[in-house]
Symmetry: C2
């Protein structure tokens, strides 16, 4: 990974961070995905800066054992903004338990700045 | 309209501004919907401040005579951010020619700050 990342690499690192259970590897992925001044907010949680965001993701993972995040659509960029859709689905297969639509600013080096997560209706079981 | 607007009133004024063909009334609606320091960007146009945004909307309307914007979903707020979906459809009825997903910051008085418009796939004819 170079200092300047493509938005696809950045979003891949973001999804990987949400799926990484080992704290040190997760923190490294968060550092690839988020800028140093990044913020994150969704209807259930928020964090400011990579350290806090990495801890927030770790706490969220405790709520969803046996599940993984999958990129469902995007990334789709407009100017220095990007959006993408993710699904949280059972690792063993089956319908998603949550679907989210994330919007973010993109910093000069291709990392995420301010991320806002909205929740879609989950798929029917 | 008071100085402090609900986000529903703000988004209603935003949609009304996109549908208002008379420049003075459109500028008034833009002033209700957008903060003084507001910016707008989508894949086709951008504007900064209510005067420029009102002019931008007027220019865009020239491209779509006989069409109107309709709020299709939302507004859905997370913290001081909001999103909503609109459709551009023939005034006489029929499938939408464009569908957009707008994301915006919300200022302290309930107006839109920075608006980013993404385009969805239009409906099949």
């Amino acid at each position: 990974m170079t200092n300047s990342s493509s938005i696809t690499e950045t979003v891949d690192a973001y999804i990987a961070a949400w799926n990484e259970g080992e704290p040190e590897r997760r923190r490294a992925l968060v550092g690839q995905a988020f800028a140093a001044e990044a913020t994150y907010v969704d209807p259930m949680m928020s964090g400011s800066g990579p350290d806090e965001i990495a801890g927030m993701i770790g706490a969220a993972q405790q709520q969803f054992p046996g599940h993984r995040f999958v990129l469902a659509a995007g990334p789709d960029a407009v100017g220095d903004h990007v959006r993408f859709v993710w699904r949280l689905e059972p690792t063993a297969g089956g319908p998603a338990v949550a679907v989210g639509h994330d919007f973010a600013t993109v910093t000069g080096d291709g990392r995420l700045g301010d991320v806002v997560g909205f929740l879609e209706q989950a798929e029917a079981a």
